[in-house]
Amino acid sequence: MRFLRRRRGISTVLGALYFIVIALMAFSLVMWEVGQYDAYQQLVNRMNQFDIDRMTENLVFRYPGVEVLASTPPYKFDIIVCNMGGIDINTTRIYIYDQTAGSMIILDKNSPTDFYSNGFVKAGASGHEIHAQSSYNVDERTGHIYWIKIVTERGRTFSTPYPLPRTIQGPGGAGSFIDVGPIRILFEYRAINYTSLTQQTPASGWSVPKNTPLFFYIILINVGTEEVYLKKESILTFMSYTRTGTGSKTTFFVLDSLATYPDNSKFNLGFTYDEVNKPYVLKPNLSDPYTGGPPVIVKFGAGNLSPDDHSVKFDNTVDQYLCFIGLAYRYKGYIFGQTIPFVAIRVT
C-alpha cells in the first residue's frame, strides 16, 4: 500500500511536469506567433512609410530650369529645382533627352564623363542648383528642345521640358511678353539671339555685326488651344531709324529648325524651311493655355522663299534698326498673317 501510494505520488508529479511543459510550449508558441505578427506589422508599417515618403516627394523645376556655365566641352550647367515636398530628396540619376536631335544622355553621380553633384535636395530648398557636367551641350540657345528627368532614390521621377514654359512674371522682370492671337512673343534678354560664321553659338542679338551673314533666333509660345503651324512666309524684318532706300531694310525669312549658323561652305538645302513635311509646330498647353506650351525657338536667315540664299546680312553701315516680326501660320485650319513690332537693335 505504501509502495502504491508512492507510485501515485510520482505520477502526480510527472503529470504536473507534463502540464507545465505543455503550458510553456503553448506559451512559447503564442509568444512566437505574437513576435512573428509584430515583425510582419513592423514591415508593413515600414513599407507603408516608405510609400508615404515616396508620394510626399515633390521636386519642381524653377525658371529658367538650366543655367549654362560653360558652352564649350566639357559642358557645365546647373539644373535649378525647388523641393516642395516636405521631405529630403536624394537624386540618383538624371536623364536628358534632346528631342530635336533625338538623342539621350544619362548623368550619374559616379560617371567619369557625364555626371552631377549636389544632388541631395533638402526639404524646402528653393533654387537648389544641381551641378552637372556633360560631353553633350544642353543649352536652349542651340534651338533644341530637351526633356530633363530627375530620378530620386525612392523611385519617383520629375521631368520638365527645357526651355521651360515661361511664367507670366518670371524672376528679375523676365516675364514680359506680347500676346497676339494664339502666339506669345517673349521680351527678355534672351528674346533675340543670333549666330554668324564666327559666332556659332547663339549670342544675344541686341547688337550684331554689320556686313556679316546672320541667323536670328526668337522664341515663340503657343497660348492658344490648338497647334500652330508656321508657314514659310514668316519673316523678321529690320528697318533703319534714319535711312531710306537701299540697305535701309533687311529681311530674314524663316529657316529649318536644324539650321545653326550661316556658313557659305555648308549652304545646302538642309537650311530651307519645309512647311509641309517639317514645319515648326507650336504645341498648346491644354491644361493651362494662358501659361502656354513649350517654347519653340524659330530661326530666321533665308534671303527669300527660294532655297538658294542663306546669307542675308545688314549693309556695311553702323545703324539702329527697328525690328518687326511678320508671322504667317495655320491655326484651327485657317491661315493667319500678322505683323508685330518687336525690338530695336544696334548694327555695329
Partner: protein
C-alpha cells in the same frame, strides 16, 4: 511586400527597332526581373538583352534592351510591363518620339 521597383525611363531607339527600358530596384530586397510585356505580349527571351531572369540588387539600375519584331512608329503609345519572379509588376505607358 518588400519589393519596390520602378521603370525610370524608356527610350525608343535604333530607328524603331529597339526599346531601352531602365529599371531601378528601390525596395528592401534584391529582385529578379523575369519577364517584359509590350502591348500585352510577352517578349521572347531571345529578344531581350541581358538575358532574363535578371537579378537586380537593391538600389541598382539596369538597362534592358528589347528588340522589336515590328518597329515602333512615330508617336505611338506602348504599354510596357516589367514583372519580377515573385509576381510584382510595374506598368507604364510610353510614347515614341513624334
Amino acid at each position: 511586400m518588400r519589393e519596390r521597383f520602378v521603370v525610370e525611363e524608356v527610350w525608343f531607339t535604333d530607328a524603331g527597332a529597339k526599346i531601352n527600358i531602365y529599371v531601378r530596384n528601390v525596395g528592401d530586397i534584391d529582385i529578379a526581373i523575369a519577364d517584359i510585356y509590350i502591348n500585352r505580349t510577352r517578349v521572347e527571351a531571345a529578344k531581350v538583352s541581358p538575358i532574363l531572369p535578371l537579378s537586380l540588387n537593391t538600389g541598382r539600375v539596369v538597362q534592358i534592351t528589347v528588340t522589336l519584331s515590328s518597329k515602333w512608329s512615330l508617336g505611338s503609345v506602348s504599354e510596357i510591363v516589367v514583372a519580377t519572379s515573385r509576381g510584382s509588376t510595374v506598368r507604364g505607358y510610353w510614347t515614341a518620339p513624334a
